[in-house]
């Protein structure tokens, strides 16, 4: 290694890989992955989230899973936590997931059409 900058570059890259173990703040994407969710197609949704976040090298984003939220009919459901705010998306497809990453996570614009509010209307 010939410079500090090189080390810094490695560090930045590497931190992404381990932030799960240290991150307390940031964005949490919680995918409902109980039997109901999986049956409704939660797996490809989650994979889409993982791939997209990876591709965009987003920092401070944690993807996690959870059990049954209780509204099985709305699965696949995903909750995005950011600070105090919680947005619940429902009936997602992989396509939606990529959109949520692009709009919500990157640009801070909630993908209104996928939220539980929009669906319930």
């Amino acid at each position: 290694m010939k410079s500090i900058a090189e080390l810094e570059a490695i560090r930045k890259r590497a931190q992404e890989g381990v932030k799960l173990r240290s991150e307390k703040g940031g964005v949490r994407v919680v995918v409902g992955m109980a039997t109901c969710g999986i049956a409704a197609g939660a797996r490809p949704v989650m994979m889409a989230f993982v791939e997209e976040i990876n591709k965009r090298e987003l920092k401070n984003v944690v993807i996690t899973q959870t059990g049954c939220i209780g509204a099985c009919r709305l699965e696949p459901m995903v909750e995005v936590y950011q600070g105090e705010e919680k947005i619940t998306y429902v009936k997602l497809t992989a396509e939606d997931a990529r959109k949520i990453v692009a709009e919500h996570l990157v640009n801070g614009r909630v993908v209104k059409e996928c939220t539980i509010g929009a669906y319930e209307k």
Binding site: M1, S3, E16, V18, L20, A34, M46, V50, T64, T66
Partner: protein
């Protein structure tokens, strides 16, 4: 590095590895593939988490779920429930001994609450075989800062001001040692790391090497820069295969990344290191013996001066620190001398890792700030004594440490307090003894070790430990006299005063400290022919309590040496003490609890 949604950290320390953590990892990998989770869940083999009592340990992030005592058969449950469905498997979570509460997250576990992890900070957190993970947790940044921004003198100044003292036992101020080595004249200098952890039961050095080997590589390079050395040796005992393997991987990775070798960070500084394997002699932890062993000679201490800082490996100035000492260095550089000095007591700064064992609930490795009291360590972190037994003493400092009785439990732990109590810090062994331990037997146990491990060079240690051991044997066998006790004490003092190296000078500590605090137990053995704790078999008697005896004769039937006589249904049974071999079969057999040990 790919992004995963979940990390499963499995302890790959020696303790957990011996309880099949390797197979657990394999099983996880198989099941992840089976369930198609291998792209989203990552299995990480880490170093020791410290709470070995609870091993094998598995922690699942991002939740931090702390699973303990995991068996291979538990793996499918964790995969199917937690990883697939997001349901934490409560049954497998660690339960606190004191509260019996189930702990969801590792952060909530009482064992960790009072700890402050500096030396062990990455153990159980990173994959020790990945330099990227180490770098992610600020690895090699200290080395970078040192090489690009600091002069060797500034580095030494920081280490001095931090107040760090040698963690191998001596407690010599580390910065001063660095300064001596820097000032010593020599065409070549060496940095050496003492990883010859010889105290039975102590494994903090092993844990660091297994869990965070890059920290040692980084620290040694920093030390090399500070003292003017370009070559480092790590002396590891061959009994630590995992540590050796991971350290070698770390060295290789550091070389590949240009963090060892020539012109590091483009600064012109060169540093290389290699591992030297030791054969596991206790005495090789003594610095001059260790140096002799690195040189390929018999591991035997030599007289000092000259100190290694002046004449060390191959007669060249050598800086020798132990693993835990080095593990603190990168943190001190990154966070500053003041930060480190703010932890601990006036004369003992920072944290210290202890290997807690014996009659204690949370057997394992703990890192606590200096100045934590013995009581806090034993009760708050260690979870207290199991089975409601009474605390008797804590033995610190390894086999040549001393036993500290209950009245000193509130002593803050630091180098000087422990010495004042007739014990020592040593490398951080901490063995808790309860009412069932006989202190004479404990002293004999440690003498058994030091006698065997004496290098044989100087008379007091070689001959004296043998005779102390023999005198203790005599006392334990009920054949001792008060003359023997007196002789034992004089002999112990001679050995302490006249031996060549630290091993001999401290070998009598178990005897001297037990004589100081538990003399009544010696007297009981000699004068009353009794072992108060009921440990010393020669002094035990099995007696039939006549009032309770139902004259059934079962005891006589069970006795393997036919030393119980009586007439079934008519006469109370009687044990012939001369013939009795104290096997206890009669007591176990008696349905009426009419046989007592005393």
């Amino acid at each position: 590095m790919d992004l995963y949604r979940s990390h499963v950290l499995v302890c790959g320390g020696t303790g957990c590895a011996s309880s099949e953590s390797g197979r657990i990892i394999d099983n996880f990998n198989e099941l992840l593939i089976e369930h198609g989770l291998d792209k989203e869940v990552k299995i990480v083999k880490t170093g020791c988490f410290g709470l070995c009592e609870a091993g094998p340990v598995v922690v699942v992030y991002p939740e931090g779920a702390f699973y303990s005592m995991i068996k291979v058969s538990d793996v499918p449950t964790i995969v199917e429930e937690h990883l697939l469905k997001g349901r934490i498997v409560t049954d497998l979570l660690y339960k606190d001994h004191t509260t019996s509460e189930t702990m969801n997250s590792i952060d909530e576990v009482g064992f960790y609450k009072k700890q402050r992890r500096v030396a062990l900070r990455n153990c159980g957190v990173i994959n020790p075989e990945s330099i990227e993970e180490y770098i992610a947790f600020d690895g090699y940044q200290a080395l970078g800062n040192v090489l690009t921004e600091m002069s060797p003198n500034q580095v030494i100044d920081i280490v001095k001001r931090s107040g760090l003292r040698g963690r191998g036992g001596g407690g010599f101020p580390t910065g001063t040692k660095w300064e001596f080595t820097q000032k010593a004249v020599g065409d070549l200098k060496y940095v050496a790391c003492n990883a010859d952890e010889g105290d039975p039961g102590a494994f903090m050095d092993r844990s660091v090497l297994e869990g965070d080997p890059h920290a040692i590589v980084e620290a040694m390079a920093i030390a090399g820069y500070a003292v003017g050395a370009s070559k480092g040796f790590v002396y590891v005992r061959a009994e630590y295969p995992i540590a050796v393997k991971r350290l070698q991987i770390a060295i290789d990775q550091a070389k590949e990344n240009g963090l060892l070798g020539e012109d590091i960070f483009g600064t012109g500084f060169n540093f290389d290191m290699e591992i030297r394997l030791g054969a596991g002699a206790f005495v090789c932890g003594e610095e001059t013996a260790l140096i002799a062993s690195i040189e390929g000679k018999r591991g035997m201490p030599r007289v000092r001066p000259p100190f290694p800082a002046v004449k060390g490996i191959f007669d060249k100035p050598t800086l020798l620190n132990n693993v835990e000492t080095f593990a603190n260095i990168p943190q001190i550089i990154l966070k500053g001398a003041e930060w480190f000095a703010s932890i601990g007591t006036e004369k003992s700064k920072g944290t210290k890792v202890f290997a807690l064992a014996g009659k204690i609930n949370n057997t394992g490795l703990l890192e606590i700030p200096m100045g934590t009291t013995l009581r806090e360590a034993i009760y708050d972190v260690g979870g207290g004594i199991p089975n409601g037994k009474a605390f008797k003493a804590v033995q610190t400092g390894g086999p040549s440490g001393g036993c500290i009785p209950a009245e000193y439990l509130d002593t803050p732990i630091d180098y000087d307090n422990l010495i004042a109590l007739g014990s020592m810090m040593g490398s951080g062994g901490m063995i808790v003894l309860d009412e069932d331990n006989c202190m004479v037997d404990v002293a004999r146990f440690f003498l058994d070790f030091t006698e065997e491990e004496s290098c044989g060079k100087c008379t007091p240690c070689r001959e004296g430990t043998k005779r102390m051991h023999e005198l203790l044997d005599k006392i334990v066998d009920g054949k001792g006299t008060m003359d023997d006790v007196a002789k034992l004490e004089t002999l112990a003092k001679t050995i302490k005063g006249a031996s060549l190296c630290g091993l001999g000078q401290t070998a009598p500590n178990p005897v001297l400290s037990t004589l100081k605090y538990f003399r009544h137990e010696y007297e009981a053995h000699v004068l009353d022919h009794k072992c108060p704790a009921g440990v010393c078999s020669a002094l035990l008697q099995y007696l039939v309590v006549p009032d309770l005896c139902k004259k059934c004769g079962i005891c006589a039937a069970k006795c393997p040496v036919n030393c119980i006589s009586g007439v079934k249904g008519k006469e109370v049974y009687l044990i012939d003490q001369d013939k009795c071999i104290k096997c206890g079969a009669c007591m176990d057999a008696c349905p009426f609890k009419a046989i007592k040990k005393g």
